[in-house]
Amino acid sequence: MALILNEEQKMLKDSAADFLKERSPIESLRRLRDTKDKQGYDTQVWQEMIEMGWTGLNIAEQYGGLGFGYVGLGQILEEIGRTLACSPLISSVVLGGALVNLIGTEAQKSILLSEIANGNMIVTAALDETNQHNPLVVNTMASKTEHGFVINGQKKFVLDGHIANQIIVSARTDSGIQLFVIPSDSEGLSVNQRILMDHRNASDISFENVSVPSSALLGKQEDAAEMIPKALDVARICLSAEMLGSMQEAFERTIAYLKERQQFGVPIGIFQGLQHRAAHMYCEIELCKGLVMKALQAIDMDSPDLAKLASTAKAKCGEVLQLVTNEAIQMFGGIGMTDDEEIGFFLKRARVAQQTFGDYNYHYDRYARLSGF
């Protein structure tokens, strides 16, 4: 498959860029932060995203989506990364959607995917229990009862957990690790909202004797330990697309600043020390572009390389976004340290995106394992 966009995808990308610049610039994020908005995103903008179909791009038509594919969704996420727009796209549409799609029964898909696609429901996943991402460390227990299960345990870093309607939680059962879809208002389930440095939200969620019916089990009886990483890979690639947008925006703003800022009577972009570092960053970003495109295609093609590509994209985008945001602050100098200047928002977002779904250390290890060394 050629690593280029088709006309439809290009149009989608352009219209997303226009929409986000207009409706969700970085000022919006600042406003959400300064007004201590409990929701964490702009409901009106989210509603417009739903209306434009963004929540159904990756969902098959038979489940109420548009079946447009991940390459298309990736273009929107890239533009979202540029304006740092907050929404439950990654938590609910991408990760929630992928888990349901990969593991759910036909009946569950019919209900949940269409609710996700039409924006009526926010479905997030509670997979992590440790401060370092590792979805296979599961101490949360689901014990079988007469009519279903009782769930006990603690989950960490549940993206948008504070506003989710349904939580997909991983728990250990007699059949290994399985997933359960649990309404967030269930008795015994408590959500502790945590504000993150990028001004988004994740929650610690505790399950204390939460009773659920058998139908809460996502999918059939099989162990989900194999499919969870696959759904996460979809989310990792989508997040990489978002990070790719952020790094490009931070980089372009930095280049513009280098051309504009005068010191010693010349624009500072004239100094070769900075030029070489900028050129190096350009190369690193170009690598990410190729990778993300290839990885997005791998989802659409259900490629056997998906896992390796997901780890490569997430690790590399994590590395490069960290490099670019650090260099951006340094090149902006004192101005970059001020809250008035927007560049700092990218630095903060970079650190959260880095840790979400595994940082580069996690993915170096995983890539090596997948490659047999």
Binding site: M197, Q322, M337, Q355
Partner: protein, 396 residues
């Protein structure tokens, strides 16, 4: 070589000092404090003490002149020899005594006035600094002059009996709480840029001075923008020779660089890593972070050996020259790496950013470290200085 007499005198001084400190330093002033202003007494016209014991401790030290141990007694200082001051420092460290007064006056302005000031200025300002009566801030940078400090535009026009000051300073630390500011101002617009600069002391209460705090990405506001609109400054507030303020500034900047050149660790990085990652078979449960932390720790150890070596050489008469640029550059970069590693080790726990500053302290501190390689001369400027002054590489 020390003579035997000096040695005996020093030993006696050490014993007396220890006894005095033990008797006079209140218990609450003997715990390691957070850095800087958050917990130290800073003096000023509107003094604020965090506790009664902090006040007692400050006053007792002030009365001995030990807020500025080596400054002359004639101006209220402690009059100690460098050897004695070292002993005092060591004994304070042994007992965990906090510094009684933390101020820019002590760290920055005082040495400049002692070097360049008139007798009157010394009598007035040095005494005030020792006694913590005035809170000083520094006015060097301007919005258009970051690395190119000498391009500053704030002007001081000679109006016969006073200077008329107009312009704007930025990165003035705690200007919103300061009583006075020491400034670089342009007193000759026609001279080459390094030549027309003077060093001026300005009272923040004068008409025409206004201040606006700058909020940083860490969420703190330790710095301000300071504006001067037709501010009339008395002529006697000039320090040093007219139009020769640049040499005072350079001297002070080297001083600042040296004081920045130290990596502080409230908790050693590897201990924090053990806490967050745990040990398996005695090794951190993440081989990559483990190696990075080992590498970082080695660099920290190496830097401290290198600083110690330079100090020993200086004692034996070798001038450190532009080496302060090396220390400034390396320690800034090292400190940034330290916090990146802490973030990596902390994982998702480290991402919290509560409403209160201490809630999510690590993330905020990490943001703060990004300024290390900008303030007091950027890393790029330090590298320029090294390549030109130490390596002798050619300039355009």
């Amino acid at each position: 070589m020390q003579s035997a007499t000096v040695k005996v005198d020093l030993d006696m001084f050490r014993e007396e000092t220890r006894a005095w400190l033990e008797e006079n330093c209140p218990p609450s002033q003997r715990t390691t404090p957070p850095r800087g202003l958050e917990d130290c007494y800073a003096g000023g016209r509107k003094p604020y003490f965090h506790s009664e014991e902090q006040k007692i401790w400050f006053e007792r030290m002030r009365d001995k002149g030990w807020t500025a141990p080596t400054w002359p007694k004639a101006y209220g200082g402690g009059g100690l020899t460098p050897q004695q001051a070292k002993v005092l420092k060591e004994e304070m460290k042994n007992l965990n005594c906090r510094v009684p007064l933390w101020s820019f006056g002590l760290m920055m302005l005082g040495p400049a006035i002692l070097h360049y000031g008139t007798e009157e200025q010394k009598q007035k300002y040095i005494r005030e600094i020792v006694n913590g009566e005035v809170w000083w801030c520094q006015g060097y940078s301007e919005p258009g002059s970051g690395s190119d400090l000498a391009s500053l535009q704030t002007s001081a026009e000679d109006k016969g009996d006073h200077f008329l000051v107009n312009g704007q300073k930025v990165w003035t630390s705690y200007a919103d709480r300061s009583d006075m500011i020491f400034c670089l101002v342009r007193t000759d617009k026609d001279a080459p840029k390094h030549k027309g600069i003077s060093f001026l002391l300005i009272d923040m209460e004068l008409e025409g001075v206004s201040v606006r705090p700058i909020k940083l990405i860490s969420g703190k506001s330790p710095f301000c923008e300071t504006f001067f609109e037709n501010v009339k400054v008395p002529k006697e507030n000039l320090v040093g020779t007219l139009n020769e303020g640049w040499s005072i500034a350079k001297n002070l900047l080297t001083h600042e660089r040296t004081s920045i050149g130290i990596v502080t660790e409230e908790q050693p990085l590897h201990e924090y890593a053990i806490e967050k990652l745990g040990l398996v078979d005695g090794k951190l449960n993440d081989p990559y972070n483990r190696m990075q932390i080992a590498k970082w720790s080695m660099d920290r150890d190496a830097l401290s050996s290198s600083i110690a070596k330079t100090i020993d050489e200086a004692k034996s008469g070798t001038q450190p020259g532009a080496k302060s640029s090396f220390f400034k550059y390396y320690s800034s970069e090292l400190n940034k790496r330290r916090y990146e590693l802490a973030m990596s080790v902390g994982g998702t726990d480290a991402l919290e950013w509560g409403e209160d500053y201490m809630d999510g302290k690590l993330a905020r501190d990490m943001c703060r470290t990004k300024a290390n390689s900008i303030e007091g001369g950027t890393s790029e400027i330090q590298l320029n200085i090294i390549s030109k002054r130490i390596l002798g590489l050619p300039s355009k």
